[in-house]
Amino acid sequence: MSELHHIGLTALAAGLRERRYSSVELVQAFLKRIEASQGALNAFISVTREAALAEAAAADRILASGTGGALTGVPIAHKDLFCTRGVRTTCGSRMLENFVSPYDATVVAKLRQAGAVMLGKTNMDEFAMGSSNETSYFGPVRNPWDVGLVPGGSSGGSAAAVAARLVPGATATDTGGSIRQPAALCGITGLKPTYGRVSRYGMVAFASSLDQGGTLTASAADAALMLRAMAGFDPHDSTSVEREVPDYVAQLEQPLAGLKVGLLKEFFDTGLDPQNERCVREALEVFEGLGARLIEVSLPNLPLSVPVYYVVAPAECSSNLARYDGVRFGHRCEKPRDLQDLYRRSRGEGFGAEVKRRIMTGTYVLSAGYYDAYYLKAQRVRQLISADFTRAFAQVDVLMGPTTPTAAFALGAKTSDPITMYLNDIYTIGANLAGLPAASVPCGFAGKLPVGLQIVGPHFSEARVLAAAHGLQRATDWHTRIPAGYA
């Protein structure tokens, strides 16, 4: 029984249905790992032990009656920006330190309906703004491969938890790389679906035209199983797309012979660490061995994706975060003198430094006299980037390249200069700007640290992206590596 955490989500779900172990046993085993690692990793903000054990007992009764669903009894964790009824949702912020949502996010409700058992809420960069999980009000998360290093962000808690096998799968969100970048830095599989594929209802909003919920798991097969339960139309989200959800699991084995893989020229330019490049190129050779054809493609406007993002995302954030006013919910300052003082001090105290920086950047680029020069200009360049992707996908089936320029970096190494931190997402932001599905999968090690390969597909091609990732994972074992100390 000591090896339960080595079994991936898909196999655990099958083992539960075959009654090889109970959900209560599984939940107890993973809770023990979560609690034992909390001091070292700080991956969780809330652990819901009692509720999880009660849900597991209920799942065992369903499994005993032989009516279990795809995920019945499987333990998972939610990033702490998915609203959970009755369990606080902090978004990593002092502002929401005591916020208890009166409703469940659609993603939470769907996974519960599929039978998954929530063990807790994972740590994250405050309001998902960060690439290292160092902006969390609840302290940084540490990388299980080396606790002196960051796990990436903003979904750093979910990524560290899955990498250390504290849970077999976790939800996450990706606005500029917040699923893929921590997946790469922690050596796991991360999937950001197409914009509109997964409901944003009950996901605390950061940048509404970019935010998308997805998965962090050990393997692509596990991602397919989780996504199948999470995806689908939701009338509560006006940007949710009315489109059938394919059976991602059934489509995993599609052959890769003849797959046209585009190599993004711009991704192999200066800035990419040679060790990361070596791992990525070796993975590309694996795809060639599986019959894929590599074709170099150029997206000339892609180098402007980070500047576009740092106009559009702060603009949307300044608007979305205007709701935190100290009146209806969230932090309120002591003894306000008047209403303006109430607003200004509640927000000044409730938000951390990076969130305030982005709110102010957004306020500036939307203000009178600057809107055309910054915001509209950025949305025009975004159109050019999106058109670059459309042209590329007329030639190739998927695009591949590195997820990040380097492996995990030291805590504190990039906190003094925001631009240095922002450039971490140089390879991931493009897919958000164009609304495309993209995954990061482990493809080797730079020294002792994992490296991620990014796979980007056309809109709604999650099945193809996952099948490519799965093909790599059948040919290699990088995704099965577990950090020393958590094996």
Binding site: G330, T361, Y364, A378, S386
Partner: protein, 96 residues
Amino acid sequence: MALTREQIESIAALARLELTGAELPVYQQSLSSILEFVGALERADTASVTPMAHPLPGLSQRLRPDEVTEQDHHSEYQQNAPQVTAGLYLVPKVIE
């Protein structure tokens, strides 16, 4: 593009953010460098390009019939409010 201390104060006022004296120069420096960084956008030729309005090409916001779908949840929602009396949110006096 360098922002002045007064510009930072005015942005913070627009954003309803109280900044401390120590925070002001930090944001003055970092916002200036962010604006300089995003200034790279000027180089792109966008003369005939329509600004992107939706992340999925050809799609726009879905509309729904104008029907009442929400129930009254105010007492439940107000459990998260800092100060409530008789079902009303309390704020400092606005009109003397």
